[in-house]
């Protein structure tokens, strides 16, 4: 059926229909997230320039007065320091323990699935409950387990939240988040190509050397991801403080979120709290920037 008609050229089609149809599907979530992302941010920024105490409205433009006040607040260095401690110490503890636990769980043994479930349990416990368990169970000077242990050893029991509040809170955070680190590092370990380890064995490496030279480098990236995620979460530690020390004694365990909370909802100074909020946003954005950089290779 050879055709002898002259060829008919159809003009090149404009961009496919499909692209236009997809717009409305994206819109709801994007719009909603955009509002959620920008509106509070902008308002916090605006409030930070306002002299606004909820007990004495209205808000009056105050320029940089809040920032001045913030930076000269004698509590501030302590608060910043506390925030950093509450981020870095649990970070180190969870990463080290997480790696160790991941190594332990990276192989089969009788009852492994159950043991695994036990290890990750702390992660699912609400932060309030987690803090309370430790507060009453272990740290309580009268009926806590630690005080019982100390008494059995002939020592005086200590009131943890009075004398070592920071340590206590760090223990709580570490306990709750080590499972998170463990799960992530365990997953990363199990994606390591077994052949690399076998090659290392053939090359004569013993188990510690194998771990150090083959497994650990493979974990650098997951650890980086873990560090960034945990940094973001630890920067906003709140519930644990609320339920145990309320930032005290004094401001010994106040971190930036709690500082903001106490100034805003307890001290009613919205302007000052907003200035501190801007601070927190900047820090979080810096961390997010690095995280997104790593992420962008994945998608």
């Amino acid at each position: 059926m050879a055709s002898t008609t002259t060829p008919i050229t159809v003009p090149a089609r404009a961009r496919s229909r499909r692209v236009m149809k997809t717009w409305p599907l994206l819109l709801p979530s994007v719009a909603v997230l955009a509002l959620w992302a920008f509106v509070p941010l902008v308002l916090t920024l605006w409030y930070s320039f306002q002299n606004y105490n909820l007990q004495m409205p209205p808000a009056v433009f105050g320029g940089l007065i809040n920032y001045e006040y913030l930076l000269t607040d004698p509590d501030l260095p302590g608060v910043v320091f506390n925030t950093l401690i509450m981020v870095f110490v649990p970070l180190i503890v969870t990463v080290v323990l997480g790696t160790a636990f991941a190594v332990i769980y990276d192989g089969p043994f009788p009852g492994q699935p159950i043991a695994r479930i036990l290890v990750i349990t702390p992660f699912f416990v609400m932060p309030t409950v987690a803090a309370l368990v430790w507060k009453n169970l272990f740290f309580h000077p009268v009926w806590g387990l630690f005080s019982w242990l100390q008494q059995s050893l002939g020592m005086q029991p200590i009131d943890w939240f009075s004398s070592h509040p920071m340590t206590a809170i760090i223990i709580i955070i570490s306990w709750a988040w080590t499972p998170f680190a463990t799960l992530i590092l365990l997953t990363a370990m199990q994606s390591l190509d077994r052949e690399q380890i076998e090659a290392a064995r053939m090359d004569g490496a013993k188990s510690i050397a194998r771990f150090y030279y083959v497994v650990l480098p493979h974990l650098y990236r997951p650890i980086a991801v873990l560090v960034m995620l945990e940094t973001v979460f630890f920067l906003s530690t709140y519930a644990e403080i609320y339920v145990t020390t309320m930032g005290g004694p004094g401001s010994a365990t106040t971190n930036i979120p709690f500082y903001i909370y106490s100034r805003a909802l307890m001290g009613f100074d919205v302007g000052l709290a907003s200035a501190a909020g801007v601070f927190a946003i900047i820090i979080a954005n810096i961390v997010a920037f690095f995280f997104v950089r790593i992420m962008s290779e994945q998608i």
């Binding site: 059926m1 055709s3 060829p7 008919i8 050229t9 159809v10 003009p11 090149a12 089609r13 496919s16």
Partner: protein
């Protein structure tokens, strides 16, 4: 009747032209193979026929009807994907019956058709299994079965054998050829493997960089390649393409000088002049040791295949010359060999790559 016509088909993604002005007629019940190296556009062409890619320019006609704007689900074609694309959560029978179910074919008829196709492909005992329980070859048959059941106007195959191991591939080639005979349907088949093209096709379409280099039956392409690309692509082992200079043209023959000292005398073609640079095409199976041979070189590598022996000969300069010898021929690495053309004739190509023909 299921015919297909491509007229001046053109495809571009933004500024990049993937397919440049392709025209082709596929006849009823023909087995046409689109073959070419990776990136030549053969899969894109097939997908445009299927409706899975937009046609930027030109016209696609099936049975006389223009199909450019018809959606893939309405063209009446069936496609077998390279990765089989079976529905993982459905059984073999459900996979094969899906299209019929969507077309609201009554269950009894559906089952009958599924059974028929299953018989042809020896899948009856696998009908209740899920794809992940099947081997590669079995999955491929299910993919074919899915297409058969629909009794489409045209079957489209996108490199269906690439994911199979070598032995299975050979077996499936034969089965597909038999299938074509049995179903007597129009089939368009895409592959990068020229052996598949040669063995299965009624006609082969050689593509390179979005352009058709040549269309013809397998033997036409083998005996009369239109240019060096087709000549080098079709035939295994690859045709030897050697640069040579015409030293003299006298009577009906032309003498060629090959770098390294070898010479060759071929039938002269009109328009051939002394001093011309040409490419000589010599198929390995047409050359061999000959006392009167004027092509000389040293044997570098010998491959004993049992059924034949391949020799790779160093002519002094340029690529190694491949010669296919009888397995009993005494050859050893290091031998100096004199070769001549024992059967067929060499093909001459101009510097542009076009084959030179006697006019």
């Amino acid at each position: 009747m299921s015919t297909l016509e491509l007229r001046n088909i053109h495809k571009s993604y933004g500024a990049v032209n993937i397919i440049k002005d392709v025209s082709l007629s596929v006849h009823d019940r023909e087995f046409v193979v689109l073959v070419g190296p990776s990136g030549c556009g053969k899969s894109t062409l097939l997908r445009m026929i299927a409706g899975l890619e937009e046609i930027t320019g030109g016209e696609l006609t099936i049975d006389g009807e223009v199909m450019n704007d018809v959606s893939a689900d309405a063209r009446g074609l069936a496609m077998v994907f390279q990765s089989y694309a079976l529905y993982p959560h459905m059984s073999v029978a459900e996979n094969m019956g899906f299209a019929l179910k969507l077309a609201k074919v009554p269950e009894a008829e559906r089952n009958q058709k599924i059974l028929q196709a299953a018989k042809i492909l020896q899948l009856e005992h696998l009908l209740e299994r899920k794809p992940k329980q099947l081997s590669g070859g079995q999955r491929q048959r299910v993919a074919i079965g899915r297409a058969i059941v629909r009794q489409p106007k045209i079957f489209l195959f996108d490199e269906p054998l690439s994911n199979l191991d070598a032995a299975l591939r050979v077996q499936m080639r034969i089965e597909l050829a038999e299938l074509h005979r049995r179903l007597n349907a129009t089939m368009i088949y895409v592959t990068h493997d020229q052996v598949e093209a040669m063995t299965m096709a009624d006609r082969i379409v050689v593509l390179r960089d979005g352009v058709i280099e040549q269309v013809g039956t397998p033997l036409e392409l083998y005996n009369n390649p239109a240019n060096t690309f087709v000549a080098g692509f079709i035939g295994s082992p690859k045709m030897n393409l050697i640069e040579a200079r015409v030293t003299e043209v006298e009577g009906g023959s032309a003498k060629l000088f090959i770098n390294g000292g070898s010479t060759l005398t071929v039938a002269a073609l009109r328009g051939l002049n002394a001093g011309d640079t040409v490419t000589v095409g010599l198929r390995p199976e047409t050359i061999g040791p000959s006392d009167a041979g004027t092509v000389t070189g040293v044997v570098d590598v010998v491959e004993h295949l049992g059924s034949e022996t391949l020799c790779y000969i160093n002519l002094g300069s340029g690529p190694l010359l491949t010669a296919k010898l009888d397995s009993a021929a005494p050859v050893a690495v290091g031998d100096t060999m004199k070769l001549g053309v024992l059967k067929g004739k060499p093909i001459l190509f101009a510097q542009s790559g076009e084959a030179l023909r006697d006019r």
